[in-house]
């Protein structure tokens, strides 16, 4: 590992603070998903990905696609903390002329691998990329794609799942953010997804289930996926939406809205004191 677990947890916390600050400055955007994904993005940008933040188009890089584009604040925050651009730019999120569009646009910012927002298309784009690498016997690079669980309602996902399974794209790893919420409520009420593990297995995937808020578990699962050569891997990462901010956790009402000033202050205080574990705001 390039960092200690303690260091990674601190980075994840900083990313969460950045998410709150960005959303407050933007005045709109999604809170719950990005906070829940902070540990996964920390694991990717600081351990898992073979990448060069100062050379985002490096030809041997691993590719990470974000399928559920509305969670983009966490990616912007992770990229800034990893050195792709200055953290000060995060405050431009969703503003006129910003490179940080409300939903990610590849052409606006180097390091974004796709343009997304409309759900359900990430896995198939990842499949196209993985297929090209596989057919050209390129074993150096890997393709990762993160999608939401509510997103699995989309038919396009299952068209892609059949395709990935058929072609045994073992160089592709899908991470499903299983946070159980979507805009209209809990996923199991809106459109039940379970038995999710059995579904992905039926489509030809090796399925790993982990705690997606455990950075070490995320790193370990991606390492294991790398070692599985006969089939693609789907990692069902159970996360707590709004993770790290007590009043947002597991509440689907926080799916698509930003905190107001007072709420942001409360959230930042909680993050800076690690939920009351330390007294002063700055370590």
């Amino acid at each position: 590992m390039k960092h200690t677990l303690k260091q990674l947890e601190t980075i994840a916390n900083t990313i969460r603070e950045d998410i709150i600050s960005m959303l407050l400055a933007a005045g709109s955007g999604h809170s719950a998903g990005p906070l829940g994904l902070a540990d996964i993005f920390t694991a990717f940008y600081f351990e898992i990905l073979n990448h060069k933040p100062k050379d985002p188009n490096w030809e041997d890089r691993d590719i990470l696609l974000l399928s559920n584009g509305h969670c983009i604040p966490v990616r912007y925050a992770a990229m800034a903390n990893a050195g792709y651009f200055e953290r000060s730019e995060l405050k431009t999120l969703r503003k006129l002329d910003s490179r940080l569009q409300g939903h990610p646009e590849r052409l606006r910012l180097d390091g974004l691998e796709n343009t997304s927002g409309p759900l359900g298309s990430g896995l198939s784009q990842a499949a196209g990329m993985a297929l090209v690498l596989k057919r050209s016997n390129n074993l150096k690079r890997r393709i990762y794609v993160i999608c939401g669980d509510g997103e699995l309602d989309e038919g396009n996902v299952w068209e892609a799942a059949m395709f990935v399974g058929k072609n045994k794209l073992s160089n592709l790893t899908l991470i499903i953010d299983r946070n159980n919420i979507q805009i209209d409520g809990f996923t199991e009420d809106v459109m039940p997804l379970e038995d999710l593990k059995a579904k992905w297995e039926a489509f030809g995937f090796k399925v790993l289930e982990i705690n997606g808020n455990d950075i070490e578990a995320v790193i370990d699962a991606c390492l294991m996926a790398k070692a599985i050569e006969e089939k693609p891997t789907a990692i069902i990462a159970h996360t707590i939406p709004g993770r790290g901010v007590d009043f947002m956790e597991s509440d689907f009402n926080w799916h698509g809205k930003p905190p107001n000033k007072e709420q942001a202050q409360k959230a930042l205080h909680e993050l800076r004191t690690l939920g009351g574990k330390i007294r002063s705001e700055h370590q």
Binding site: R106, T115, Q125, G128, L131
Partner: protein, 331 residues
């Protein structure tokens, strides 16, 4: 009728008794050629490989062919990913399904994401015939021409379809090419030039501009021949690239004749004729009559019967030209 040597020289000598070949066949041969020239070209199909004439490519380059199954959303999004790796994917299906079913994916993952995916919509138009309205794609021009970044091509015959396929493989933008099922008259000699974004004045005339796209150009050429005998000197402007439009060639013709008829085998709403009207109304307003399908679906029948029913034949173009000239004279 004075003849533009440059373009009309490439017309086949006997338009009254032409050889017939389908646009999709021209595409299939073109794709094979492109595959031979460029090792980065891929071909993806959604369970219609032979019908869309991709089988020639598949047989020669199986390692660059990708079977997607009946999944048009996946067809274009997988292609977006393949293009991201520096490849040039051609994706084919019937136009009713692609771009009919997967428009949003084309918009987001290909146009906004700027990936040079080549979308091939076979079986467009009313002339699909007996399969009926569900399979007769009439809205594809409208759907594709509103997308920023998308190039829209409707070749006039199989010769041009082949050439367009070659040129598409060299173009860095997303492209849509509109093909038809039926064998249609071959109007061009093999030496006919083709450049994306260029319109071609095939016959020069003084009295009216017949501005056409796709296989309707043949009917316009026939109509112009007959009209000349009746004392009407019609100009025929063939527009194989619907977007971006060759404004210069089209405006030059409108400035000369000051009246035009557009012909397309598709919905007139937001279609090809509409794009000519948009151009004219802003830069050189003249009377324009559009011929095409007017806000309704097709139906089963033989291709020739359907073209007749919907007025997409040279005989109707002749009739409409005479009455439109008379109408505008009275006004």
């Amino acid at each position: 009728m004075s003849i533009n040597k440059k373009n009309s020289d490439y017309l086949t000598s006997d338009l009254n008794n032409p050889k017939r070949e389908s646009l999709r066949s021209g595409f299939g041969q073109g794709l094979l050629k492109v595959g031979q020239i460029n090792p980065n070209v891929f071909a993806l199909c959604a369970d219609l490989t032979e019908s869309t004439q991709m089988h020639l490519f598949k047989e020669s380059f199986p390692e660059r062919f990708v079977e997607i199954g009946i999944a048009e959303q996946n067809l274009v999004t997988v292609a977006s990913g393949i293009a991201a790796m520096g490849k040039i994917p051609f994706v084919s299906s019937y136009a009713a399904f692609s771009p009919g079913r997967n428009w949003e994916q084309i918009r987001t993952t290909i146009c906004l994401n700027d990936r040079p995916v080549k979308i091939v919509g076979s079986h467009s138009g009313i002339s699909v015939g007996p399969d009926g309205a569900t399979h007769q794609m009439l809205e594809d021009i409208a759907l594709m021409r509103v997308l920023p970044n998308m190039v829209v091509i409707a070749p006039g015959d199989s010769v041009e379809a082949l050439k367009a396929t070659l040129m598409m493989s060299l173009d860095s933008r997303p492209n849509y090419i509109r093909l038809a099922r039926e064998a249609t008259p071959v109007i061009f000699e093999e030496e006919m030039p083709f450049k994306i974004g260029q319109a071609y004045t095939l016959l020069e005339g003084q009295d009216i501009s017949l501005i056409t796209t796709g296989t309707m150009t043949y009917h316009a050429l026939r109509a112009a021949q007959e009209l000349f005998k009746k004392g009407i000197d019609a100009e025929v402007v063939h527009v194989p690239t619907i977007k971006p439009l060759d404004e210069e060639t089209i405006l030059k013709s409108l400035k000369k004749t000051k009246i035009a008829i557009t012909v397309e085998e598709g919905q007139m709403n937001a279609g090809f004729g509409s794009s000519i009207c948009e151009l004219a109304s802003e830069k050189y307003p003249v009377p324009i009559l559009r011929l095409g399908i007017k806000d309704r679906f097709g139906e089963s029948g033989q291709p020739d019967q359907l073209l007749e029913r919907f007025g997409l034949t040279y005989t109707n173009i002749i009739k409409q030209t005479i009455s439109f000239i008379n109408l505008t004279k009275k006004a």
